[in-house]
Symmetry: D2
Subunit: 352 residues, 4 copies
């Protein structure tokens, strides 16, 4: 019988922590043996998330209390808030170099520690580790991820924009100087730490843009699009908040290069993702809905001709907690450990 | 390797049809080989429910076009609207007596065909079959279900009220002459056939009771509570419509018999469901939320002492599409076919 | 031309403060001249609630900074959190006895300061003022309110239950020993101070009961029902949280006394509220929806016969921020100042 | 005392009909004396919209049954579905030329009857009347509207895009060859005629684009932007469906012409709308939310610098039923009848 991997989840009380657990509890090769949650330490997971009541799970502990050599952990998912992660992973990888890590925060996503300092307002606290970190967009960096010890799981907004755009940019199929990404996300992307703007009555029955002109996800987009283009690329990106729990939909406005039509762009994406289990390109002219990826690890992409000649509209959708966070993290783990990439990730989207 | 059962879903374009498919696509012993949808015949499932795009599935056909002897089907889920089902199943079981059936409609739930005629306003169209039908509340009728050829899957409201109340009534622990069930359901319980009252703007940002004083689920409650009591029982039942997709929560007001306290009632339920995989009784004083059963086959029950002496408040919650319909239907199939009862039904509730 | 009343709103940054302002900005006899919000002092109202951008309004100040004699205020609405109100009003009424006050908190609702201490866990801080406070349920205490200097505006849940029940209890038309009130409220009832349980993702797409068996509104219900009955009355009351912003709906289960039928109870309510502008009794057998009172000061009541002989189901609905709080507060002001009772309160419910 | 205008609403059972009534019931110069609703004729408005129960209103009649000369009507709002309107208004204006009309449908919005035929797939049925019709965007055509007998009330999406863009185009401040309008609307924009795609469970907890590449509102945008530019202008426009009732938010991507910065564009809009009561331009860098215009007749506009040099992001928000339909219709009536333009339209946005 196949051996099972012993897994630790750091930050299990947040939404991405709960989503990791939801996925891993039915993963055939994973045993969750460690759960941390600093502010909720010494409590049971069922008190924090009653849906886990029927499952026997380890009690929550603080990260500080973990002795990594003695913890009996093979693999760690780090689902901590941005900022605290660098220190935690530095200690972990220092004490127990055999443990492999997928980090769901933004702490290791930017290769350039100077860019990190510029966007996040403070120095990177583990610049040496940054050099080892692999950006975990499986469809692009699968080969590197296999060997990686530390994978930086991409952001939710960025995954939703990078999957449709990177193949187009790499193939020089679109102009890179005027890409407009109008992105809309559900509320779980904001996490579980209460602030006034997150109250139900401030979010339901309404809609708004935020971070217009300046949003940290831009740094990650710049990096990946510039890598794909082989030259600096800056895009226009505007996030909006949807009164829903799960789902990101990005409407992307592009111009084909050298006469490429919307159909050409579509054909290129169809080809690029023909064998990918978690990217589905719709027939030309169709566009996706977030509800049809709810709870699944799928990204769905549609391409339509714009009425402005030479331009195309690309719409992509994913579940920000699954492919946009915890599902992609498990996909990364599967690749790192040599498991079939879809293991534990076959759940069908839940609609209605 | 274990053989797989070839399954047909009649009425695949409705919500319970889609939920059956969501569950069965990851069920290790089931192959869906037949899908019917009369008004949407000759279309692909992916056009009706885009979330199934990644899966190879048979095209939709009309029921009339099915030759049951040649269909290669072992097992049928019938997810048709109330009323048309009796005729369809009569033909099916007449033509292909080996096929076993779980019917999700109300057509075979009432043992008494006179009661059926009274509540539904027309004669039962298959009274002989009614005699063979077993009421599919697994936790109560497991033994009969094993042998059954035709199982009448219970209603969503009724499952949510019967699971907490039947053990209390059977044990003569509560007064049966003044049980008040205040029930609230999400919109998917109303199905997918559009009516003005189902429009988003008529349902969101509001709440109301409906069918006050008269609702067809009462006939089913009367039947099961009277069976459990061994004498006629009539309860007060008021359904309300929640602006959510999935979930039923019932708040039930009862009085303990002969000095039974709320704690006594709780202890009785804990004992009754100690070994049931799909009924979870919370610690005394705690009550469930619908969101913690979303997409799972679990029913969660809580018991609290009322401030009125001698009375208790019982709160039960389930997902109306899963334990309240398609999940329970698969649970019935597992029992009928001798599979482990939880096969394909281990999905953890999706929250948030 | 009629003189205008100069109004102060204490706690203008909360939801009931904003609702007061929404109503008063179109009230023909009111000028809002003072707005306080301790944590948001020195900011403009438009920063806190952008919908007020088009209106010239005084900047927010701290309560402490207000010199009541010099403030130029005739009338004060106190929309502060429970607990801090007693001290604030004590100082205000001490320094400027001419100012009349409607308090929207629970601080002055319980006549019995011992009951207050029991339910709130600390001594009443202004027991002498409590003696002067009038309970502001206009339909019941209109005469006293006219003379009052300090009116305790009723709670939202309590208003919704008291309006249908008090006439029935006063007329000895129902049994008072087994009244069951199953109440459901929108989120704005919880105010604007962020807590984890109030986050959008914790509230949307789900439903649950809370405070089962013990909720502070019970003290207020006990007081008013006992007054109406002329003897102690205790009711069963269970609040639930709806994933909507505005609206309370109460489903109330009662038994007619001495052969009173549901029709008798209905007739009694029709008569009791025939001339009331803000209570509307539906034709027998019809029940209300919260959406049809959204933003209006109306309470709508329906009565239906229960299928249990001798019992009736009463459903009442109101907007918790309007008739359940700020609308009722302005109605109280109108009565206190001798204005027409409906002045500024004629807005039609906003549906859809 | 000022005389009151006797008003008829054709199509009173739709959402824009109900919104007209909500506004007109508190309008000081309007009496609603005629309500039509073909499919719901002979019923009372309170059965269709219970929120109007407290108001005495004429019963619903069919349009066919109305004798326009004898109807005692001075002014008509036509809130009928697109397509049937041309015939209805032709008869009305033929029989009773003194009655003035605001039409809320798209039937008279396109000056060019050939463009109408092209976009709507059939010939215009009242081409002579089209010549008299004035496009009712008050902020642009106020002078013409004063004299008009027939005003074509603008669409909701178009109003939200035209108000921010027309001043910029007129002043040649932006490039007109690559304007991208990413628009998001609440569900009430789809009306009250039930279709599967409008069911609560198909709309809630999700988001999608629709009509990508081709939407009828484009014809109206083309017309108005071309008029403003004095040359043909075609824009990119993508509508999306929000799971909310009311509200449209448009995120508009533009490039400044000849070195105009985002600040320049902002200054231009501030100046253009300085005296308009229903257009509010936020301070530079701020953007609006739909919830802060809910139920009000206000359009709120924000301008932000894009990170792409030379480009700006403009966000505009309005309530699709109010400024996007019925509020704007009443604003048009006020102008046509010489009333103060804000009469009956002063209601403050309802948030929360």
């Amino acid at each position: 019988m196949a051996t099972r991997t012993r897994i630790g989840i750091l930050g299990a009380s947040g939404y991405t922590g709960a989503e990791l657990l939801r996925i891993l509890l039915t993963h055939p090769r994973a045993d969750v043996v460690l759960l941390t949650a600093d502010r909720k330490a010494n409590r049971e997971m069922r008190e924090i998330y009653p849906q886990f009541s029927p499952y026997p799970l380890p009690a929550l502990v603080t990260i500080e209390s973990v002795d990594w050599m003695a913890a009996g952990v093979d693999f760690v998912f780090c689902a901590l808030p941005h900022g605290t992660t660098q220190t935690v992973i530095k200690r972990l990888m220092g004490e127990a170099p055999a443990i492999r890590v997928v980090d769901l925060s933004a702490d290791f996503r930017l290769c350039d520690v100077d860019a990190y300092a510029r966007w996040y307002g403070h120095d990177h606290l583990a610049p040496d580790l940054q050099g080892q970190a692999v950006y975990g967009l499986v469809e692009v960096y699968r080969r590197d991820i296999k060997q990686a010890h530390l994978v930086a799981n991409p952001g939710c907004y960025t995954t939703c924009a990078e999957l449709p755009l990177i193949p187009l940019i790499k193939n020089r199929a679109i102009d890179t100087d005027e890409i407009v990404i109008d992105a809309k996300s559900g509320m779980t992307g904001a996490g579980r730490s209460a602030r006034e703007a997150m109250i139900f009555s401030e979010v339901s029955e309404g809609f708004h843009a935020y971070g217009v002109g300046h949003h940290r996800h831009m740094a990650e987009l710049d990096q990946e699009f510039s890598r794909a283009a082989g030259k600096p690329v800056t895009v226009s990106f505007t996030p909006h908040l949807l009164p829903i729990n799960r789902g990101i939909l990005s409407t992307i406005y592009v111009r084909g290069r050298r006469g490429r039509t919307a159909e050409d762009l579509h054909a290129l994406l169809v080809k690029a993702y023909a064998k990918e289990p978690f990217v589905h390109v719709l027939p030309f002219g169709e566009t996706p809905q977030t509800r049809h990826v709810r709870g699944s690890n799928m990204t769905v992409i549609g391409v339509v001709a714009d009425r402005l000649a030479g331009r195309a509209i690309i719409v992509s959708a994913l579940d920000n907690l699954t492919k946009g966070a915890s599902g992609q993290a498990v996909q990364n783990m599967n690749v790192m450990l040599g498991f079939p990439e879809t293991l534990g990730l076959t759940q069908v989207a839940m609609f209605p």
